[in-house]
């Protein structure tokens, strides 16, 4: 009888899962529009590349435009599109340096940090003066929880053509290395010198300033920086997520919801929306949580690790399944070891009542002198839980 039940379940899911819209004018999907200057720029580079497929410079320009657009809109599809453009050169025994660099950036963006690092180290063997490769390497080292190695990479920029880049690089390291005050100061100096027409840089530096302010416990200051960043780059995926987290931490759930609710297509924004809805006890919380779970399930089906951090947090805070959250946080820790990842592993280990599992995060926090008050608080609670244990 059981097999018959299973059979009918299978037959039921085989029913066609599609519909035919009744209204011809129903909008099915938003797509990039040529009204957007970034899209026009991309399209002209794409046309050029199609006319001259052998032209390396044209291909690189297009690949970089795809990466910039993908980063700006949060659309990860552009990573693959960029890689397809440089693919013929990747097949060479020694790809051109710029091709390797673009490829390393793609690998890093897809969270394939080990491969990105190997690619960058090989590239720097061939071209030790490549500033952008050093910068990218520093960022991979930061994500992998090695700020000291990142500091050495940043140091390679000192005395180079631009002191400003070295300063920004070192500030990013100091942020997670017990010197958030220094980081804040040097970043503030960079922002002061920024030309008005660089919204991307502005969004990034304001975001970093906000993070630095949070590390120092100045939440009101952090909020001002988030707002300034969003003014420069409205809808910036990264700023929205971080600002919403600040509001959620402060218990301002309604404001957090208002901030992200128009960006529910973005998984990172949607996660904050679901968190806010749940805390406010809104009726749609359950349906949206199911939708979020479906997105993670689709992600897992393709074998992707892009959202492990978000998924672990979702399972911990929304589904309240500490054991599974801890397993995800541990899996995430294998590739990402930034402060947020440490915070997540600590919180999951505490909730699952397995403080010992968070040992690698504890070691990292101690070694790097991470100041973030939220991480410090978790660490205190973890110690108490450990001391209290028989």
């Amino acid at each position: 009888m059981l097999s018959l039940l299973a059979l009918s379940a299978v037959l039921a899911t085989n029913a066609p899962a599609y519909f035919v819209p009744a209204d011809d004018d129903q909008v099915l999907q938003r797509v990039p529009t040529i009204a957007d200057p970034r899209v026009r720029h991309m399209e002209s580079l794409r046309a050029l590349h199609e006319r001259r497929p052998q032209d390396l410079e044209a291909a690189l320009a297009l690949a970089r435009a795809y990466l910039d657009y993908g980063r700006g809109t949060g659309d990860a599809r552009y990573l693959g599109r960029a890689e397809a453009v440089i693919e013929p050169w990747l097949r060479l025994a020694t790809p051109p340096l710029d091709v390797s660099l673009v490829h390393a950036t793609i690998l890093q963006s897809r969270h394939d940090f080990d491969a990105a690092r190997a690619q960058l180290e090989a590239l720097l063997q061939r071209d030790p003066g490549n500033d952008q490769a050093w910068l990218t390497l520093a960022s991979v080292q930061l994500v992998q929880g090695e700020p000291e190695a990142a500091r050495r990479s940043c140091a390679r920029l000192i005395g180079g053509p631009d002191a400003l880049a070295a300063l920004a690089c070192l500030a990013a390291v100091n942020m997670v290395n017990g010197r958030a005050a220094d980081a804040y100061e040097s970043l503030a100096r960079i922002v002061g010198r920024a030309p008005p027409a660089a919204p991307q840089v502005r969004a990034w530096t304001e975001g970093l300033l906000a993070d630095a302010a949070r590390s120092l416990g100045h939440d009101a200051l952090a909020e001002r920086h988030f707002q300034a960043g969003l003014q420069a780059a409205p809808g910036d995926n990264f700023l929205l997520a971080d600002y919403a987290d600040l509001l959620l931490d402060l218990g301002r759930n309604g404001e957090a919801l208002a901030l992200v609710k128009d960006y529910s297509a973005s998984d990172t924004s949607f996660l904050r929306q679901v968190l806010a809805e749940q805390r406010l006890g809104l009726p749609q919380a359950q349906a949206d949580a199911a939708q979020m779970a479906a997105r993670f399930a689709d992600e897992a089906r393709r074998g992707s690790r892009l959202y492990l951090r978000e998924q672990a947090r979702f399972v911990l805070e929304v589904e309240r399944d500490p054991a599974r959250a801890l397993a995800l946080a541990q899996d995430n820790w294998r590739s990402q070891r930034a402060p947020e990842d440490a915070r997540l592993l600590l919180a999951a280990a505490l909730a699952a009542d397995q403080p010992a599992v968070a040992a690698p995060a504890v070691a990292l926090v101690e070694r790097t002198h991470l100041e973030d008050p939220r991480v410090r608080e978790l660490l205190r609670r973890l110690r108490r839980a450990q001391d209290g244990a028989p």
Binding site: S3, S8, V31, A76, Q108, L164, E299
Partner: protein, 396 residues
């Protein structure tokens, strides 16, 4: 000029150091396949491709307003099908199964709207044993595109993820699964008998007199008549074989006819008929009308029991070969279930046949009990009247 050069580097700095916060997953398409239950040569498929991905290679957004409408999608239906179907091939046992799109629709997935290509693939060979999918959609524009493939046939589902590194897959649809499926149905048949006492009591009623010979029929109710034990084992065994065979032949006919949809009687009628058959068979032992040809009773009522068995397979829909296998397996299970009860029973009856206990207690007493129980079922089923206290006597 120098200031601009400086800023270019800081810009790179931002690009390199800012953590990437991706809004949604990379590109997937969803490809689902199943055999057509009505035609073993045909595969039915549904292929969902993200509108976002199609818009990257085809001019979907005709008016360039950044929104793809159903009208715009419909207008590009042919172009979409031509583009997509050129990047998918299906082979059955090595031979190409040409794909024909039959409908267009829309599906909502977790990351947006997808164009749906409904298609069928027609293979030369009936029910291929090996199905090979080769997939290279978007391989030239996005190496991280993946196809989430799901093949389902009956109880079996095969999942796979195709992409440039793993661009084709061969699904083995052969015997391991067939055998497995056959065995599953055998088990279903067994359970159906073991958990359905009405069928067993019917056969039992017919067999109780098999170890006896009726010398004189009872003249009135309460008169036991004259039953004598059979002299040898073989007459009893022969009687058993005839009864079981008669029952098997007829219930197989109606089971098959019913599952294939040729016969459709209301279940209340069928269930009441089964209860009535049990009652008649038991009463016949108390006041025999038929003594020599019990197998005819088995054969006759077998038709209605077959319809009852079919309820366990209601809604089953499989390709012909698998259907034959399923029916065969289920029938075999029903037979095994019967034999497992009837053979030990016959052995005991044969040993006890000479005792008065058997003739009075078992044959008369047992039959009276069965007749009473069956009468209760008949009332319950015919009138749809459930006596809660007697639920444990009611076959599920």
């Amino acid at each position: 000029m120098r200031a601009i050069a400086r800023w270019r580097l800081v810009l790179l700095c931002a690009a390199a150091l800012a953590p990437a916060a991706w809004a949604h997953k990379e590109s997937d398409s969803y490809l689902r396949l199943r055999p057509d239950p009505a035609d073993g040569r045909r595969l039915l498929g549904q292929w969902d491709i993200a509108i976002r991905d199609l818009a990257f290679v085809l001019p979907l957004d005709a008016n360039g307003d950044g929104a793809v409408t159903w009208r715009e999608l419909k207008a590009q239906r042919q172009a979409i099908e031509r583009y997509a179907l050129a990047h998918l091939s299906i082979r059955g046992d090595g031979l190409v199964c040409p794909i024909r799109a039959s409908d267009q629709g829309v599906a909502e997935h977790s990351d947006g709207a997808y164009d749906v290509i409904v298609f069928e693939a027609r293979c030369d060979k009936d029910t291929p044993q090996k199905l090979t999918l080769a997939y290279d959609l978007f391989a030239d524009v996005d190496p991280y595109h993946r196809a989430i493939v799901r093949y389902s046939a009956g109880q079996r589902t095969i999942n796979d993820v195709l992409g440039p590194q793993h661009a084709s897959v061969t699904l083995d649809l052969r015997h391991p699964q067939r055998l497995r499926q056959f065995w599953d149905f055998v088990v279903d048949g067994l359970w159906h008998i073991w958990t359905g006492p009405d069928h067993l009591l019917f056969v039992t009623s017919l067999l109780l007199p098999a170890v006896l010979v009726c010398r004189r029929r009872p003249r009135a109710w309460g008169d036991a008549g004259d039953w004598q034990p059979v002299t040898g084992f073989w007459p009893a065994a022969w009687e058993l074989i005839k009864v079981i065979s008669g029952f098997t032949v007829s219930h197989s006919v109606t089971l098959t006819a019913s599952v294939l949809g040729y016969v459709d009687l209301p279940s209340r009628l069928v269930e009441s008929g089964i209860a009535a058959s049990v009652m008649v068979a038991a009463l016949n032992n108390l006041h025999p009308l038929v003594t020599r040809r019990a197998w005819l009773v088995a054969f006759g009522f077998g038709f209605i029991h077959g319809l009852g068995f079919a309820s366990a397979l209601a809604g089953l829909s499989l390709p012909p070969a698998a259907m034959a296998l399923a029916l065969g397996g289920f029938n075999l299970g029903v037979e095994l279930g019967q034999e497992s009860v009837v053979l030990p029973l016959l052995a005991i009856a044969y040993l006890l046949r000479g005792t008065a206990f058997y003739r009075r207690g078992v044959l008369r007493g047992g039959s009276a009990l069965i007749a009473g129980l069956a009468a209760l079922w008949l009332v319950q089923r015919a009138l749809d009247w459930n006596v809660p206290a007697l639920r444990f006597l009611t076959p599920g």
